[in-house]
Each structure stands twice: as structure tokens, then as C-alpha cells.
């Protein structure tokens, strides 16, 4: 991220600043981000703005990205792990238009990755920033609807209720029935919502080399996990945390130990499983990996897309 310069072209009425937000707002958001980094896992209230996309569609992530992006950044946006889902396309186009930055689908090429519901399979590295879109930042919200109460519980580190909930899951079902937005404890202090990523992705947060920023626009909260931070999924000694496992590899690229989407092929129960991370799948196919359903076809759509959008 580079120092930003004001980009006001005041020739026409409807001109917007670089990356849409005005510099005052960006400064306010950066302060919240810095505070979040200083207190890992703590939800920092910030004066979230109305964005030109609806609340619940990534306004928190967009504001965080807008506050940190510079002209030399390369942006990747994924939704459900995919670069081509409509909302990811829309957000990528937003920054291509308002900031004129280079966008990419290639995970290693990106300096900022904004995501909804997934962490890329390709391990992220130092210098990259992962920005999460968060709908409900409060991990205790479904146990206690009141903000005044949950803030108190965090302040007193009173997380018994969460353990009781997980225990009740085990008592009722034999295992913990939380599959996504699985609560984690950050640096031994704050219980944090990892956003609705499947719990499969939780271990990737632990001691990640990458700075992880979380933005919740409607709820007006920002939080952060600095690089190399302890992120531990809550569990019990006799019921240790475990991630999802799939019985079969990706039908397109043959990858194992990755998160797969189930695709319905017909109305007769035909199913196939493919990588949810589209770039990972494409680059594996480009490297010659081949899944059961791809047959002998050459890798299709394999080239990663890095481009500078026309303003």
C-alpha cells in the first residue's frame, strides 16, 4: 500500500475521489484498522458510510479495501472462492473504475484480496492483505442479541456461553454442529467470528503470514488479525476441532484436501465435486492436472486474468 494522493477531477459534478471514499473517511477507517491490528480480534466501531452497493453485499470489505488500496496495488476479488461470481465481478469492476488499479484472478499476483466466504487454497504470503466481508461481526450475537451485553462479555472475557453452546451441540448431536462462521480465539484473548467461511478455512488463519482485515459495513465494525497471530478454533479436549473432508477429489483438477462445491448435473441424482477456489483449479489444470470428469480435454480457461480495466 502506498501513500495516496488526492485525485479530484472537479471538471464535472459527479466526480469521486480515488477509490470512491474521500480522504477524511479513509483516514478514519485507517485509524480503525490500526487499532484493530493493535488489539487482534477486537471489534473496533467505525463510522461506516453508505456505499453505492447495498449493505450486506460487502460494504465493509469495500470500505476497508478503499482505505488501503494504492495505485500500484493489484486487486483480486472472490466470492465463494470464485473470481467470476456476479458480486465479485461487480466489486472488482467498482475498483477498476474508481481507482483504476490492476485487477487479477491469480492469487499470488494480488497484493490485496477481498473475499466473501473463502480463504484461497494457495497459501498467502507476507505483503499480501486479505480483506474479509463480514455480515455479523459479533460471534456472540446469536447467543445474546444485545450489543450492550456482548461488549461487556468481551470486556470481561466471559465466553462461557459460547462453550456451553458448543457443548450442547455435542450433547444433542454427538459433534459440534457449527460448520461455518466457526468461532476462533485470537492470541488467547478475544473470541472472534471468522466471517462465514467454512470451518475448513479456519486453520489457514492461524499464524498466517498475511495481514487479515475484516470489515462489517452495516454493523459498523472493523477487526484484524496481524501476521503470525495465534488463531485457535474453539473446541474441547475430548472433541477436538476438525475440518470437513471430502470423499473424492476435484472432478476437474483432481485436487485433494481442498474445499469442493457440489454441482448438480441432472435431475437423476448426478453430482460432481469441483474446487470452490476457481483460480486454484484453473492453475492446476494449466499445470496438466486432470480430474475424473475432464477426461483428455486440454485445460480450458486456464490462463489467469491480469488486466487493467478501461476507465
Amino acid at each position: 500500500m502506498n501513500a495516496l494522493t488526492q485525485d479530484t477531477s472537479s471538471q464535472n459534478l459527479a466526480s469521486y475521489n480515488f477509490a470512491y471514499l474521500d480522504e477524511q473517511t479513509k483516514r478514519m477507517i485507517r485509524r480503525a484498522i490500526l487499532k484493530g491490528i493493535a488489539i487482534p480480534g477486537y471489534q473496533v466501531p467505525f463510522a461506516s458510510r453508505e456505499m453505492p452497493m447495498p449493505y450486506g453485499w460487502g460494504t465493509g470489505g469495500v470500505q476497508v479495501t478503499a482505505a488501503i488500496i494504492g495505485r500500484d496495488d493489484v486487486l483480486k476479488v472472490i466470492d465463494q472462492g470464485a473470481d467470476d461470481t456476479t458480486n465479485a465481478v461487480s466489486i472488482r469492476a467498482f475498483f477498476a473504475k474508481t481507482a483504476g488499479v490492476v485487477t487479477t484472478t491469480a492469487t499470488p499476483d494480488a497484493t490485496i484480496i477481498q473475499t466473501r466466504h473463502r480463504i484461497p487454497e494457495t497459501p498467502l504470503t507476507e505483503g499480501q492483505v486479505l480483506v474479509y466481508q463480514v455480515p455479523i461481526p459479533e460471534p456472540l450475537r446469536f447467543l445474546e442479541p444485545r450489543e450492550t451485553e456482548t461488549r461487556k462479555m468481551h470486556a470481561l472475557e466471559e465466553y462461557g456461553l459460547m462453550h456451553v453452546k458448543l457443548y450442547e451441540d455435542i450433547a444433542r448431536n454427538g459433534h459440534i454442529a457449527t460448520t461455518y462462521a466457526y468461532p476462533v480465539k485470537v492470541e488467547g484473548r478475544y473470541v472472534m467470528d471468522p466471517s462465514p467461511t467454512p470451518k475448513f478455512d479456519n486453520p489457514k488463519m492461524h499464524r498466517s503470514e498475511t495481514l487479515q482485515l475484516f470489515g462489517a459495513g452495516r454493523e459498523k465494525r472493523i477487526y484484524a488479525i496481524p501476521p503470525h497471530t495465534e488463531v485457535v478454533s474453539l473446541d474441547f479436549e475430548d472433541h477436538p476441532f476438525e475440518i470437513q473432508h471430502f470423499d473424492q477429489p476435484c472432478a476437474m483438477c483432481g485436487a485433494e484436501q481442498v474445499y469442493l462445491d457440489e454441482v448438480v448435473l441432472d435431475d437423476k441424482g448426478g453430482r460432481m465435486f469441483v474446487c470452490s477456489d476457481t483460480h486454484y483449479c484453473e492453475s492446476r489444470r494449466a499445470d496438466g492436472h486432470c480430474g475424473a470428469l475432464l477426461g483428455d480435454e486440454p485445460g480450458l480457461g486456464a490462463e489467469a486474468n491480469t488486466r487493467k480495466e478501461a476507465m
Partner: protein, 375 residues
């Protein structure tokens, strides 16, 4: 054969093109002008200005046109524009006592200084569809009269003289005025921030909550002390000049609800206030707002909190329709990653369930066999 979905960009572009065509409708029919919308659908414009918290009839009309008449979408368009505007400061407190009233009614005094003035109201119209309106028949010019030059005193001031109603809370001038668009929400919320939140809250949501207080969920025995609609000067202090300057006028609807109050340990028996103030001509909204404001003063007045309308976090964090519509509608975004996780869990739990059931059935069968053998 499965092919990874590509072409989101083309799909979005085509969808927006179709939307533009649908918005325009039949090209043989002349398009709506902003003057037509602002002039003939003025209550829709007022609602969009109020909930969009931006006083600009022309932009509100544009938003309504662009939103195909979807008022919440129009509010959203206006808000997203408003948020990009620089904030210069705030006006001096507006004196609604000096409003140039177009409508002014009180339900608690038959006659009062300034009189009852019905103004342009739907009240007492018979709701019969008027076929003549399908055309463009000329309309009679409104009746006019002499200005009586009588000061239109606020009803709350009349009551206040006798000490029967609580005083208007004194604003601490040293404290900055809250701005809910520039500071994150914190609870408990002060009354200035609460009134701002209610003023741009969804009319339907506040109406329903207000209605619930009348039906016994936090009953407040309300009377309409006064509703007044009209234009008020907006004055700002110019530091370089050292005095205030009127920079324009806005149309406002103000509702002062007068509520019975038994008194408590904190306050003597007297009437209490619920306050509603909204941009434009928005009587229903102002009335609903004043009932909600009064209900939300429960803890301040030492009343028991027993109903949703009194619950600050419940009311204030759910009354914004831009937030509400965004989050409700985001459910149509793809959720297949999380759904996959749930599929996996449900399949596993079903397998365990049927396994347990089969095992139980086998055991019962086995017991039956032994019992038969014993017989």
C-alpha cells in the same frame, strides 16, 4: 458436461440494459420529467428526502425515476450520493414556533391562538376513486384568505406555561450535536442521535411500532398536542461574520405528542412529550416517530421496559430501511460454500439418525425373539 460459469460481466451488463429499458417502459409514451415527479408525486419525494436524509426535491425526484418508483431503492440512491458530500457544519436550532404554517392542528384544544388550519389533507376525504383524474381536467384554484397576523404559538408552549408538561430538555450548547452519519452507533443512545435515527427510519416500521404502543405494548395514553407543517428558515452561524445568516428554507412536519404520565421517583406527575420532526409533508411518519420517541424514553422516565417499542437496540438498530433491505436481500447472493458445509453436516446427521434407528429396531426385534422364546 460441467463448465465453470464464466461471463458474469456480460450477464450483469445485459441485466442492467434490460433494467434500463423496463424502467423507461413503452417508448411511445412520453417519459416522466423531474418536474412532474416533484410536482405531482410530492409526498413520495418528501418521503425519499426524509428517509434519504437529504433535502433536495429535484434529486429525490431523479432517484424515484431511476428507481422505477421503488421508494426504498430511491432512498438508497439518495443516501449513497449524500454520503459523498462534504460536511460543512450544522445549522442553528430551527425555531418551528416561527414556521410559516400550511397546516396546523391540535387535538387537545378546540381553539387556540393561531387557530386550527387544515391545509392540504386527505383527512375527511371519502376514499372513492375519482375517474376524472384519469384525464387532466383543470383544478379549482385554492381558496385564500387574509393573514390574521396572529402568532401561531406552539401548543407545547401553552401547556408549558402552566408547568403541566415537562420542559423541553435544555440542550447543552457546549456538547457537539450528534451526527449518526459520522460516528458509529453506541448504546445507550442520547436523544439527539435517537431522534436523528428515527427521523430517517422506515415509515412502515415506525408506524407498526407506534401502532403496537396503542394496542397495549407499552401504552402511553397519547394525545396529538399539535401537528404543524410548513416552511422554516435554516440559519447558520458564519464565524467570520459573527452572526447567523438564513441560508434557505425547508418544509418540515412536526408532531408533538402529549402523553399522560403518573410520575415516578424521578419526576412529578405531568404530561410528557414524544417528538417527531421530518423533512417535507410527512404527517404519518412524524406521528409514528413521536410515539416511538416517547416509548423509547422509558428508562429515562423510570418506566418498566416491557415491549418491543421501548427496546432501544431493537427499534434503533432495525429501523433503517437501507440497512434492512440490503441485508435481507443479500440472501440472494451465492451462499453455496456455506450451504455445502451444511449439506455435509445434514447428510452425516441423517446417516447417524438412521443407523441409530436401525440398531434400535434390531434390538427390539431381538428382545421380541427372546420374549417369544421365553413364552
Amino acid at each position: 458436461m460441467y463448465v465453470a460459469v464464466k461471463g458474469g460481466e456480460a450477464a450483469i451488463a445485459n441485466a442492467h440494459r434490460l433494467l434500463a429499458a423496463r424502467r423507461r417502459g413503452d417508448a411511445n409514451v412520453p417519459g416522466l420529467t423531474l418536474e412532474q415527479i416533484a410536482g405531482q408525486l410530492s409526498l413520495a419525494v418528501d418521503r425519499v428526502m426524509g428517509e434519504g436524509s437529504l433535502y433536495d426535491p429535484e434529486l429525490a425526484a431523479l432517484a424515484i425515476k431511476q428507481a422505477r418508483g421503488d421508494l426504498i431503492e430511491a432512498v438508497f440512491l439518495l443516501r449513497a450520493y449524500r454520503t459523498t458530500l462534504p460536511r460543512f457544519g450544522h445549522s442553528e436550532p430551527m425555531d418551528t414556533g416561527r414556521m410559516v404554517v400550511e397546516r396546523r392542528i391540535s387535538a387537545i384544544y378546540k381553539d387556540l391562538p393561531g387557530g386550527q388550519l387544515l391545509g392540504p389533507t386527505f383527512d375527511y376525504t371519502h376514499r372513492l376513486l375519482d375517474p376524472e383524474l384519469a384525464g387532466d381536467a383543470p383544478v379549482d384554484a385554492p381558496e385564500t384568505g387574509e393573514d390574521a397576523n396572529e402568532r401561531v404559538v406552539r401548543v407545547s408552549d401553552i401547556l408549558g406555561d402552566e408547568g403541566l408538561i415537562e420542559d423541553d430538555p435544555l440542550a447543552d450548547a457546549s456538547r457537539p450535536v450528534a451526527d449518526i452519519t459520522r460516528t458509529p452507533t453506541e448504546y445507550p443512545m442520547d436523544r439527539d442521535a435517537r431522534l436523528q435515527t428515527l427521523a430517517r427510519g422506515d415509515e412502515g416500521f415506525l408506524l407498526a411500532l407506534a401502532y403496537s404502543t396503542q394496542r397495549g405494548y407499552a401504552r402511553s395514553h397519547p394525545f396529538v398536542g399539535e401537528i404543524r407543517i410548513g416552511e422554516v428558515d435554516v440559519e447558520v452561524m458564519i464565524p467570520e461574520l459573527g452572526f447567523t445568516v438564513a441560508i434557505g428554507r425547508v418544509k418540515l412536519t412536526e408532531c408533538q405528542m402529549v402523553n399522560q404520565f403518573q410520575g415516578s421517583a424521578k419526576a412529578p406527575p405531568q404530561f410528557t412529550r414524544g417528538y417527531g420532526l421530518v423533512f417535507g409533508h410527512a404527517e404519518r411518519k412524524a406521528m409514528a416517530m413521536s410515539l416511538c420517541d416517547r416509548a423509547l424514553r422509558a428508562s429515562e422516565l423510570g418506566e418498566d421496559i416491557v415491549a418491543p417499542a421501548q427496546d432501544e437496540e431493537f427499534v434503533l438498530s432495525h429501523c433503517d430501511n437501507v440497512q434492512a433491505t440490503g441485508f435481507v436481500e443479500h440472501l440472494k447472493l451465492p451462499h453455496y460454500v456455506d450451504f455445502q458445509a451444511e449439506l455435509d453436516l445434514v447428510r452425516r446427521m441423517r446417516a447417524e439418525h438412521f443407523e441409530a434407528a436401525t440398531k434400535a429396531a434390531d434390538e427390539t426385534a431381538a428382545t421380541d425373539d427372546t420374549m417369544e422364546a421365553a413364552e
